[in-house]
Subunit: 366 residues, 2 copies
């Protein structure tokens, strides 16, 4: 176990170590769950795309980058309005270093990726301020479950990540509907976390749906339908289907707390087989509080890849140390899985070298 | 090896035994590749559906039966015009006996299945008499390849089957275009194999495309585009992607010879990792000649599950012994994989009992 050196533990040390022990040397499948929601286009909500209209292309482009090593749906790679590259770059580098296979799953997309993807029967999400954000939630969860059961029979364990612009706002929406206190605690890709805007957006959605904070604590399917996003339905279904058989690493930041809250409300038994895998940037973030959300309703371990770009030769990567982007596209969980698969052979230093190499290649730098 | 008792060898005994040795005790993933083609609606061509119009529903319904144990897109299960149940019943029974996981892959469908499925970017096929049967073939092959590479990294080996009404006619089309002599040698679900009708259909397609027998020997992508079907593109891509890393069992009858001919023309190196897995009904069929097609261009081993329904208590199953249906939906390969995974624990007798149990359940019999 002590071979996996560059992983920090941010919650439940005992179970976290047991989880790391269990995945040590194992061969996972990485599933990237992608979807779009109009919520991501609200001005000032998301930085997962150069302009709000571009956010429809971010999930398919992220998926292409992770699976192929390059994007097909856009030129270059997804960037924030400041030009910071997508964390899919970290994910792709980690998975390729450790030869970890990838499957893309769609929860509902406006733009389809130009690669193979698992269709789970969902549609793109609407703006949560309508109070009617996602269609067909129960069926998408059910299909996710079936896929999760079958994939878990085939592999050692699963790492599941997400790409959906606007996802922390919909996470706040579902957490609020379920009665979990998350205001001011969800993370952001942006330099200044727009907590007030997210809060207003969620309150407008709950009001439009005729719901209030905590009113849907017993009905997570309705919580997603009213103020969630299509990624959540697909992701939760996959977790419930798989985690009854194999360990599942939820690869992401504060959005994972919404997935945990949904799974906790639908099928709490499987949480004993689940851990969150994130980055140091999320674990140490002062403007959000992943642990503070999760420990309200469960004690799932939180692992954090000890990524550090301080000494990178590229300004575009060093900027991650200022607290921008932080996580996404399963970057932290993919890094942990790569380290766990190959033990000491994959360190944070080696990983940074590989990320720099891919960054230079993709950005046309030297 | 001698533990796997109920498998016959129909070609290349040495390599067949080596292949069985290699998959002995291993945990495969079963992929069912589904698609539709208007060719299946030509009167008298296919029995994979009660009426020609129903053939659009047969592949999704087969997929649902294999993955869920019941159909969602139709009431009951797919049957031939004579009421004989789909061979998906055999596949499902074998896979469930041995806890073998399933993934559905679409090559192009008119009706989408109500379950998770891998979208490979294809469209439904046109009647091959147009000479322009399938769109986007190169891209679907490429996406199949990417999926095959990733799935092979995750599992011990792959078993790949198909469901597409009209598939032996399109198989004859592609084999003819590639210069493989297959007239009078492809199999049929029907009591009387309509060799002349298939031949006329293929000749009309080749003429419409401005091609002739053997004229596309160097261009398998164009052969599929002109006179093939969308299943072939997806299936061939999966084989090429996976078989460079792990064994791949092609689960089917004479349609598998078309897949082999395509793979042989695109990437012959991977054929050393491939075997065909079919049923005794195909291996012993007097109205078709799987071995006679394949051995014209390669020496891939042929395995046949020694299924025998002679002593079944159900007339609907005993009728398989008269030569109807014979194979499909990967029935033979799934049976071989179940026997290989659990050694002597899965015999043809146990398998028949399980098939009878599921048949009675699904048909409402006692």
């Amino acid at each position: 176990m002590d071979k996996i050196i560059d992983v920090l533990i941010a919650n439940n040390e005992l179970k976290a170590k047991a989880f790391l022990d269990e995945i040590d040397g194992k061969n996972p499948l990485f599933i990237l769950t992608i979807a779009t929601t109009e919520t991501g286009k609200i001005s000032g909500i998301s930085a997962a795309g150069k302009y709000p209209e571009f956010t429809d292309y971010t999930p398919p482009a992220d998926a292409e980058l992770v699976l192929l090593g390059k994007c097909k749906s856009i030129v270059g790679v997804p960037v924030t309005p400041d030009g910071i590259p997508t964390p899919a770059l970290i994910t792709m580098s980690a998975l390729r270093l450790a030869d970890i296979p990838v499957l893309i799953a769609s929860g509902g997309l406006k733009i389809k990726p130009q690669i193979p993807f698992l269709d789970l029967g969902g549609s793109p999400g609407r703006d949560i301020r309508t109070g009617s954000a996602v269609d067909n939630v129960a069926e998408v969860i059910e299909r996710g479950k079936i896929a999760g059961v079958n994939l878990a029979q085939a592999v050692d364990y699963l790492v599941i990540g997400e790409s959906i612009p606007g996802g922390t706002t919909t996470a706040l929406g579902v957490l609020s509907a379920l009665g979990v206190s998350a205001q001011g605690k969800v993370s952001s890709t942006l330099p200044e976390n727009p907590h007030d805007l997210k809060c207003k957006t969620v309150n407008a959605g709950l009001a439009a749906a005729g719901e209030s904070i905590g009113s849907l604590a017993q009905d997570p399917v309705k919580a997603i339908s009213c103020v969630g996003d299509p990624m959540m339905a697909a992701f939760s279904g996959l977790v419930i289907g798989a985690a009854s058989q194999v360990p599942v690493l939820l690869a992401g930041g504060t959005q994972m707390s919404a997935i945990l809250a949904i799974v906790n409300a639908l099928n709490p038994d499987v949480l004993c087989n689940v851990a969150v895998g994130t980055t140091r940037w999320v674990a140490h973030d002062k403007s959000s509080d992943l642990k503070g959300i999760i420990t309200q309703f469960c004690d799932v371990p939180i692992l954090a890849a000890d990524l550090n770009f301080e000494l990178s030769r590229f300004p575009g990567l060093r900027i991650y140390e200022t607290g921008l982007v932080k996580e996404g596209v399963g970057a932290g969980g993919a890094s942990i899985a790569a380290m766990a698969k190959l033990g000491g052979a994959v360190t944070k230093d080696l990983l940074l070298k590989e990320i720099e190499r891919n960054y230079a290649l993709l950005m046309g730098l030297k």
